[in-house]
Symmetry: C2
Subunit: 217 residues, 2 copies
């Protein structure tokens, strides 16, 4: 990790801010593609339905300021955001569970554009172990301990059946993994010093079905 990271990305930002910054980045890329040169917080606010003062506050963490009445240079703000978020650096990750969802995530080149570099897959199914998915080799669970350090991976992604999630998380932590991205609906616990991110896509389905049912179609 270089000095730049220590000055910027190593600053712990509030989670809501971190979640909003990629929205701004996505919008700036749209503007960039449309050859727009300047954008104000009010302009971003209108496009994204976020309070302008919230946007100004979020962007202040980046140490970048817009000019009065003109706003921010689109390309400059886009580059600063992408760099700050670490999307332009490679983060090596191991995918545990190369079944349906795991294989899908390995094949999703979108994740690579956001800096996530899946270097290995792990599975317990002998029919999958030894094969490759989108150029990523699938290893047996027993090989996990050595792989993380050998491939310099700090991130472990969990896409296994829910009942194995905690066991896999324990194994990843023992293997020296520092951040776990959990795609199972299980609330896993991790040792102190290990970062956990939960993406419960099925929770979003639950909310959507409930709201849809209340429409009484």
């Amino acid at each position: 990790m270089n000095e730049k990271d220590l000055n910027t990305a190593s600053l712990q930002l509030p989670e809501p801010t971190l979640r909003r910054l990629p929205w701004y980045l996505a919008y700036l890329s749209t503007l960039h593609n449309a050859a727009v040169e300047y954008i104000s917080t009010t302009g971003i606010a209108r496009a994204l339905n976020v309070d302008p003062s919230q946007i100004a506050k979020d962007l202040s963490f980046l140490g970048i300021r817009g000019k009065t009445r003109i706003g921010y240079r689109v390309d400059e703000l886009e580059n600063t955001l992408r760099d700050f978020l670490g999307f332009d650096r490679r983060h090596n990750a191991i995918m545990v569970g190369a079944g349906s969802l795991g294989a899908a995530l390995i094949a999703d080149s979108g994740l690579q554009r956001y800096g996530l570099n899946i270097v290995a897959g792990i599975d317990i199914n002998p029919a999958i172990v030894g094969t490759e998915i989108s150029g990523v080799k699938i290893y047996d669970m027993a090989e996990l301990p050595g792989i993380a350090s050998r491939l310099d991976a700090h991130i472990g992604i969990i896409a296994v059946p829910v009942e194995s999630a905690q066991d896999v998380a324990d194994k990843l932590a023992s293997a020296g993994i520092k951040a776990i991205w959990n795609f199972t609906p299980s609330r896993i616990t991790v040792p102190d010093g290990v970062v956990i991110a939960n993406t419960s896509i099925y929770s979003h389905l639950a909310v959507m079905y409930n709201r849809l049912a209340s429409l009484n179609l």
Copy 2:
């Protein structure tokens, strides 16, 4: 929609509750597989790191009560939860964007186990249109208006490049789609009466990278 739905699922629950219910369901399935017969809110709380009184409150929406000192019957609570969440019913959906992430989601059989039935894919790439992904036919964008009603789909999933997200959302709403699941980092707006669910997997990456950087590895 039958009378049962009107009595249960049509009740609009608070979003945080709806997000937690699938966690409980996932844990109950684990217990079921392990042949456990009864579970208390304290037991669920310990396993999932959620406050026991919160769990009791969440479960009270289901109109199901545990017995003092024994708790809930695992299979009964599991079935009630699955039914209540609508995971045992089929919800027809159209996937717009059959590129990397879209194709991955079409192929993810996990979504089917949670009641999401992707009946068609839509893309603008002539190389993909007319092909099938995991048995799901991919149509041209121009065919969207007729497809939703013909295939009885009320849900539209958006997995297109960020700059097309709002345009696709508008087209889905015009085609009679009642709920939109947005996988792009764009904050799209929808007409009144259309349900929107955002799954920003890249936002989760931003949080994870930031926390990881602060560890100063």
